[in-house]
Symmetry: C2
Subunit: 274 residues, 2 copies
């Protein structure tokens, strides 16, 4: 029986990570759970994020996944260490791969990080970077206007460009900064704009791309890459509106989506309220 | 007691990998063994490469290393699977990280690989790439003139440029190729020339850089990154001429080398014949 890789996110942002996982691991099957109904996790208290994440994990563990990817910065910050200890399968979050790729990329030792207010104030990227290299100089910046922009589908054009320019302004004086981590899974949708504003001397790191790379590394290290002939399957589950999820998933994954199903993660919640 | 990461190579080529390991993992200590006296491994029969590699591994296991990096393409091709099974510590080779990085990088699905005749004829990179993605199109090419060039220290100027242009000629018609793997640890010393000849549309992947990245990933996954305050130490051992090794190591690592010692790996071999 071919085992899938489980991917969890507070909503649709993790689809950029799923897209990279599918691209870089074309033989593997994936099951994605997006807790769209309770999104965003950013402003919620830690205990609640842990509880919601655990509900998604329980759902996936029942499906006998071989690996878990936490494709959400907030959930990674609060639950990665816990899940690594508790689960019998490997667990990868989105923060460490981005940090590690930035260390590989930087030559000046000056790295920028952008993300939601929650991610930036958690200091998770700074912690992950310093954990490997104490001499790294980190400039972090919350860009709260990016997620609403991307969710509205405005990923190019003058309006998007203006918001990106205004938001990134505080980073522009740091001429030594040669690497910028996109510390939010929504941001890869506007990579081109961010690159344009930052200039060609700055390497823009997508957490999703790097997370997929590390999933591949760890599966390879554990000799657990799929080697059979079964075609991969991609199953999507959302706690929210199936139609909306399907529309965004089709656009972001740039491929036909066969099955999106609505699930309930809490026992008290009814199923018929779309 | 702080445990070191062990690095083995048939000679000095692995120093480009060591250089990246030191850069990307500045808190870690390393012990490097270069079997300079019996270099190169490429033309040797498989059993001999396995025997020589095992002698280096035994030397390092006595020093209680926490991880082993095979910084040599030939030794990786012949011994990685064996060592992964036999050793109680994680083992990383130079081939898989380069292959994986190429899959992350390519958008066209057409990847080039250059290496020594031994590495190219072993088909190891093609195998590693196809192992992850069967649809990848690989063009491989042996560049036997590169290693002598680098070992002579000719890494820029007209002579080097001419040799690089002539050697890479067979790859230039493949306009869809957007990624090139440097499948030899010597080649990063002439990355700039290779990049110039291939053009800006081709991403050049250095196995050493990617191997260091994967070592970091696996140590992070195993929660085995060094977290204390002890300064790192770098110990170098060669089976050949200490003076020559010291000179090359100082140049390639771009830092002061404190200690290079000569070791004997075989019991029959004397020590006084430098």
């Amino acid at each position: 029986m071919k085992q899938s890789i489980g991917v969890i996110d507070s909503g649709v942002g993790g689809l950029t990570v799923a897209s990279e996982l599918i691209r870089q691991l074309p033989k593997e099957s994936f099951i994605y759970v997006g807790d769209t109904k309770r999104c965003p996790y950013g402003p919620r208290p830690e205990e609640e994020v842990i509880q919601f994440t655990m509900e998604m994990v329980d759902f996936l563990m029942d499906k006998d996944i071989k690996m878990l990817v936490i494709a959400c910065n907030t959930a990674t910050a609060y639950t990665l260490d816990l899940l690594k200890e508790q689960l019998p399968i490997p667990v990868v979050g989105v923060i460490q791969p981005g940090a590690r790729a930035a260390i590989t990329s930087t030559r000046t030792g000056e790295v920028g990080v952008i993300g939601t207010e929650g991610t930036i104030s958690s200091g998770s990227y700074v912690h992950s970077l310093k954990n490997i290299d104490t001499t790294i100089n980190v400039r972090d910046l919350a860009c709260p206007r990016f997620v609403p922009l991307v969710e509205k589908g405005i990923v190019s054009g003058q309006e998007a460009y203006d918001i990106v320019v205004e938001s990134l302004q505080p980073l522009l004086p740091y001429k030594k900064m040669d690497t910028l981590i996109l510390g939010c899974t929504h941001y890869p949708m506007i990579t081109e704009l961010i690159q344009e504003v930052m200039g060609p001397a700055v390497t823009v790191i997508s957490s999703g791309e790097e997370t997929a790379r590390e999933v591949s590394t760890i599966l390879g290290y554990r000799k657990n890459l799929y080697q059979g002939d079964e075609l991969p399957t991609y199953h999507f589950h959302t706690t929210g509106d199936v139609g909306k999820f399907h529309a965004i998933a089709s656009r972001w994954l740039k491929q036909k989506i066969d099955a999106v199903s609505r699930i309930s993660l809490t026992k008290l919640e009814g199923m018929g309220e779309i």
